[in-house]
Symmetry: C2
Subunit: 372 residues, 2 copies
């Protein structure tokens, strides 16, 4: 069994622990009588044995939707937990993907000014990426992710086995962040990942391996710069564009896949600025096409002005200059301010109209990835 | 002029700075064009010159009520600040007393996962006590103060002059915490304070002196134990009972005055447990009667069972044993677990029915304190 990984944090150190089965993970939670549960509705439906650990009288079920992740929707969840009897010496166990993690982390941060919480991530995105790093993000009104906190769980319980019940698009979305992390770490890891993914149909041992490798890559970034003021920014590689692509398609592109498309855009922009050879951008276009298809087409249909408006309105940007994570090649990312009109707009257009389109049309990539 | 005081915090060090006038304080805020304002409605009415610094298009006015301090009431304030244009590189200036501080601190903690904020406390309670220590407390549903954060302002701007416009009961309430802090620090400070308060009619120089002295007493507690897990608990001297007295009288007793009544109860309980001579409790009853009158009477009229129910339901207690800050004498407080039925109930009854009543009936204390 994989040994636990310890993560340092301003708040408290915490462990990422690996389990073979859901029951084994849940049995490790203690004290069980003071544990209250915040559980993804869909997951609870798939795993009825959960009720042995999470009794109705101490469990709140939540639908994992973007709307649910709103400040305005939080009060009933707080109140249900309080009414059910959660006290400051209690424990909040959060079972679900990114939305549940955001809600659970926010609640755990501010309830009693901080209550112990443990996280059972159930999606690949949550297992391979968001479960470490302390952040919560909450929407308010029409403002996305403008409210949040830094407060890691006290334990993360990883069960790669539960990924088997995820829809294929959820797996593909999670692979987006897995790919991003390997691009950050260097060429060898990235090529090994692509090799493992050749013929990938959802094998749990492949997922387990790359969940573990992803944690290892992310760990130093969040330990060195938990509050995201410096080197942790590099984890946003692909995200300035990715977020805009999600928003301009009304979330018609899953997050991790939007990140892949964003990475290709950032690489194309880096080539335009002379940071990296154009051949590097061309190669990534070809290598990653199987992992975003058919969402390049979704992106081509999105109104281009909505994309640029979203980039301009990103909370990190101010007007005509945009903060981007660019690349000098595998494992060599850098944050730069890029001129919107002169460089960013032409690079986005070139990426969407030429790079993506040519790669997707390539006969050598016709084999569609099928994840069972 | 009093030199600034620097306070250490897990989040960031911050300064408490003294100003002679409101205008001088507000003029020190920078960058002024990125400052957004959260201002107590009543205070804004009293100081129309505020608008020169806090223009309507960047200001949100809030009524300082216990209801306003609710999680359910926060969303419109967040949204108004966002709509008015507060960005992550902006600054939130909070002008008001405890309620404004709670709301402002909570918002500043979670907006953009933490935005810079500065505090202009306008009540004696806020100037002498709550403005340092990092805490926010927010109600939800019928649950009081169950939600909150630790996030100090980046600067505290103290203007003793603004206390002149406070209602007399607000001053008396603030004096409750001032008295508590001096009891914590030892006999000399406490007696000097009472001496200064003899014939006190609201003189600003007396208030300024004891605001400063209060900060000095509180500083080491919050620097050593910001998260309130150990020695900072002692600042709750009088609060277990004080909170219950507020609640059982439906907030008919101002906070600081309830704290004085709570201190007298905790001292009576300490005497019952043999920690301190009964004469010490008797003396405090006599010395403090002018500073809580006529609210001893309000307390005597409160249903006794409501008081005990409130003590039991305090978030820090669990059932038949109650955590109390007790005293071994001036400057020697200690946290102990006390048996509800055997010791706490008789001590509360004895304090309310005998100690308070006898002191208030004493002819030597007939002079009523009048604060102009």
């Amino acid at each position: 069994m994989t040994p636990p990984l310890t993560i340092q944090s301003h708040s408290h150190p915490y462990t990422v622990e690996h389990f073979l089965t859901l029951d084994a993970a849940l049995a490790s939670i203690t004290p069980r009588e003071r544990a209250f549960w915040l559980v993804d509705q869909r997951f609870a439906g798939l795993y009825p044995s959960l009720i042995a650990f999470a009794p109705v009288e101490r469990t709140v079920q939540v639908a994992a939707s973007e709307e649910q992740k709103s400040f305005e929707m939080l009060a009933p969840i707080f109140l249900e937990l309080l009414r059910k009897g959660l006290k400051r010496d209690g424990l909040l166990v959060v079972v679900g993907g990114g939305v549940l993690q955001d809600i659970g982390c926010f609640i755990a941060t501010v309830l009693f000014r901080g209550v112990r919480w443990e996280l059972v991530p159930t999606t690949l995105l949550a297992q391979a990426d968001s479960c470490i790093g302390s952040k919560s993000s909450i929407n308010i009104g029409s403002y996305k992710n403008q409210i949040g906190t830094f407060y890691p769980p006290h334990r993360v319980l990883l069960i790669p086995g539960v990924l088997a019940t995820l829809p294929a698009d959820e797996i593909r979305s999670g692979l987006g962040e897995v790919i991003k992390l390997q691009l950050l770490t260097g060429e060898a890891g990235f090529r090994e990942l692509l090799e493992d993914l050749r013929g990938f149909t959802g094998q749990p041992e492949i997922l387990a391996k790359w969940v573990k490798r992803s944690m290892e890559v992310k760990k130093p970034y969040i330990e060195t710069d938990e509050y995201d003021r410096g080197i942790r920014n590099l984890l946003n590689y692909g995200h300035t564009f990715g977020h805009a692509y999600e928003s301009a398609t009304h979330y018609g592109i899953p997050h991790g896949i939007a990140v892949i498309l964003g990475i290709l855009t950032a690489t194309r922009l880096s080539a335009r600025l002379g940071l990296v050879p154009t051949a590097h951008a061309d190669e990534l276009d070809m290598l990653l096409a199987p992992w975003h298809r058919p969402f390049g087409e979704t992106l081509r249909r999105a109104p281009r002005d909505a994309i640029f408006a979203a980039i301009k309105h990103d909370k990190k940007n101010t007007g005509d200059v945009v903060n981007c994570i660019l690349t000098h090649g595998f494992g060599r990312m850098e944050k730069r301010r890029v001129a919107m009109a002169e460089d960013l707009v032409p690079a986005v257009n070139s990426c969407i109209d030429t790079g993506l389109a040519q790669a997707e049309a390539s006969p050598s990539l016709l084999t569609k990835v099928t994840i069972s």
